[in-house]
């Protein structure tokens, strides 16, 4: 991939395009564009104990919106990693990984202004090192979860998720981890991952999130002009409401050697936005995204500005999903998926973001939960196969199924921070 032509792009557009390209040249371009930023990035800590023991403990370190909902950082990179050597990792390799990651923690504040990140391991990793995961962790191979998909599995070993409000930070952090730069935010890079991991460039994924960002991509094929200017997501509505997210506690493994860790599912999908914005009306988008009642009661507004800390899907609306299918001819994505809640509480902590990887609109749907099985349960509720033929179609008027096309799925274990460096499957 080559660097984008600066001409005709806004600063933000250009920086996001640069993140998508990655590498030293991208970092250089980023600095040339945004040279002032580095000084402004807050530094990290020399005391690892001061950081939370959960890798996924991001919420307290991130900003919130006016309603108190956690805001994810603006720039995201998913770096796919493949082990250089087979077999049980050596202590030396573990030391290398831990030291490399600590370099980032010393360089950047654990926040959206600095950098937050996780490293997760696939079932393929535990298979490759010959160390099955402890009985307390179910980490299945990723499979197709609907009859409409035939996803490529993430069958490499590990995945780094880097996130920051600064394009330069995610780029430099990635370069630092692979020894491509000598210094990161004033901290010398002495150890890097390159003796342990290879980067799989064709599996590298990037994305963005934030008000107004989707509308800046209307020059991308498949991204229509009709996207509302302030929409934070491609689908045109706010998401990630506090009441609809699992808490970090709820998503955390509580027992066994990986207590304090979590599981991560990452699916990558194409979005059909032309149909969504140019054929469906706002009324239809609201009923398909939330529920028909959201239309009746005018609960949403243009982009979800009327919703504050919740998608507004009440217990009553969740209960009425089947009835809505039969009597309204349409059901909402949110009401359908919420059927999987346990004691009224959501199971998933979503950290998904939009992308134009491959020069078309999509989502990297990243979700954290205590068990992968919980993700599967929510996905089944969202698929609503039980509703198809009972007033709604297989995909039509059946939530947002008609607009999403899953290409990849991956399951990961995110160990607690003390075990994040090449864990064995059962580190008793």
């Amino acid at each position: 991939m080559s660097l984008p032509d600066r001409t005709g792009l806004s600063r933000r557009e250009y920086l996001r395009a640069v993140v998508a390209v990655g590498g030293a040249s991208a970092l250089g371009a980023c600095l040339a564009e945004d040279g002032e930023t580095e000084d402004a990035v807050p530094g990290g800590t020399d005391d690892p104990e001061s950081l939370p023991s959960r890798q996924h403990a991001w919420n307290d370190a991130l900003s919130t919106d006016d309603d108190g909902n956690v805001q994810l950082p603006e720039h995201h990179v998913l770096v796919a990693l493949s082990l250089v050597d087979d077999g049980e990792p050596t202590d030396e390799a573990r030391e290398t990984v831990e030291t490399s990651l600590r370099t980032l923690e010393r360089a950047y504040e654990w926040s959206n202004e600095g950098l937050v990140f996780t490293v997760g391991y696939t079932p393929a990793y535990f298979e490759r090192i010959g160390s099955p995961t402890a009985e307390t962790v179910e980490l299945p191979e990723p499979t197709a979860l609907t009859v409409r998909e035939d996803p490529e599995p993430d069958d490499f070993d590990a995945l780094l998720h880097l996130a920051s409000d600064h394009a330069e930070v995610v780029l430099r952090a990635e370069e630092a981890l692979f020894g491509e730069v000598e210094e990161v935010n004033g901290v010398a890079v002495e150890t890097d991952l390159s003796t342990v991991f290879e980067r799989l460039d064709d599996r590298r994924r990037t994305g963005f999130i934030g008000p107004g960002l989707p509308a800046e991509h209307t020059d991308t094929s498949g991204v229509p002009e009709e996207i509302p200017e302030d929409a934070p997501f491609f689908m045109g509505f706010r998401s990630g409401f506090r009441a609809n997210q699992a808490t970090e506690d709820r998503a955390t493994i509580t027992e066994g050697p990986f207590a304090g860790g979590t599981t991560q599912h990452v699916s990558s999908m194409d979005l059909q936005l032309e149909t969504w914005f140019k054929q469906d009306s706002h009324r239809q988008r609201v009923s398909k995204m939330f529920s028909p009642e959201h239309v009746d009661e005018d609960l949403v507004g243009d982009i979800g500005e009327k919703l504050s800390t919740s998608s507004g899907v009440t217990d009553e609306r969740i209960e009425a999903t089947e009835e809505d299918a039969r009597t309204r001819g349409v059901v909402g994505h949110a009401q359908k998926a919420a059927r999987a809640r346990e004691d009224g509480q959501p199971l998933l902590l979503r950290r998904d973001f939009n992308t134009v990887d491959g020069d078309r609109p999509g989502v990297h749907f990243l979700s954290l939960q205590r068990e992968i099985e919980e993700f599967v349960r929510v996905r089944n509720a969202m698929t609503g196969a039980d509703l198809a033929g009972n007033g709604v179609g297989g995909v039509q008027n059946n939530g947002i199924l008609q607009y999403i096309f899953v290409n990849r799925r991956g399951n990961y274990l995110l160990p607690p921070r003390p075990l994040r460096a090449l864990p064995s499957g059962d580190p008793a």
């Binding site: 194409d270 078309r360 198809a388």
Partner: protein
Amino acid sequence: MMNRRRFFYCAGSVAALTTAAGCLGDDDSGDGPDADDETRTTAENETDERRVAPDLPEIEDPPDAVYVPTHREAMQMLEPVEAGAYALAPMLSYPHPFWLVDGRETERVDPDGSPAVHLMFTLWDADTGLVLPVESGAQIRVERDGQEVGSPRSPWAMISQEMGFHFGDNVPLDEDGTYTVEVTLPPIGVRKTGALEGRFAETETATFEFTYDEDFRRAVIGGIEYLDEDLWGERGALEPMEHGQGGGGDEGDDHEHDDSNAHDEGDGEDTGHEGEDGHDADGHEEGGGNGQHEDHGDGHVPYSSLPPAEDYPETLLGDPETGDATLVTTLLESDTRLTDGSHPYLLVSPRTPYNRVPLADMAISATIGRDGEELATVDLEQTLDDEYDLHYGAELVDVQPETGDTVTLTVESPPQVSRHRGYETAFLEMPPVEVEVDMEVPE
């Protein structure tokens, strides 16, 4: 490698209501559309070379019922493609308006003037020739020169007077050239009975190509066949398109009807497709339900037409109309294969008037009443059967119907399928209808 140029432009006859439309054959590899120049009307001469879609006249205030549109759509028929248990026939036309349905609301979709085609396909069972009129999440991906054009999409399940039940969408293209379309057909999830039980359980993929160029645009835009303006918006319907593969034969046939005044309202034999007084759905022979079972395999494209009411066996309870649809309602005795043998089966087969196109993705419930009291209410389940085709049915477990009982059919959701012009105002407001049980009625 398929022969892309082996296609048919369906156009020609203006006598759309009274005759089957002629499909002009062109199975040469040559300059297809030019071959039918002589059958064109002035519309062609007015075609702007760069136009991607025609300016179609509007009908003010159409009835809340099936009505005659302003024109017959011209389209290019591609060779049918087989994929596992399925066969499908792709069809291409200019982008044009259609209507989405959610609940009882419609939303008109207009083309935006960019290069695009209205891409359609009819899907049927390769074994029985039965059109499969349910939406189960088919996907299409369009490529040009190995590059995907736009994002994948799930085309809309649609009904049209000419094509019956099909899948379709206005699909944006880049520029002139050859496009490849990959259609992915997931398993069909609705209840399947009879010879269809257990079938359509695999995902299949079909691929076809088409050329988008000036010849295509001229042919489909120039081939539009406008009806006599007096007919626009009148209650009635275009006849199903015939997808014959007769080449010159069809052309000759077409000439016979190439008469701009050919519509003959007085023609008793053919006015089954028209008129306010009852739909006479059963008297209509063209595109009949049984024909479709025989037409496959020789290049014919079956039309989704349900059997007429009298073909339903056992106790026909009635064929009430609601929202301009006909709900053929019958009671099958407990020995029917559609139940486990201990209870009778209530079968409701909703269809359009005139062409008997099945109405999919409805929700219907039935309430059995006796002496003014409600005995039971059951939700009917959408079912595909090789003999009865698409219907909504339920085993009557809690009640044994007797002569004199009433069956009230409540349409909880009208058919959630998109509509071509002439169907968009019908099948929306569908008040409950009642039929009476008469166990003595012979089949």
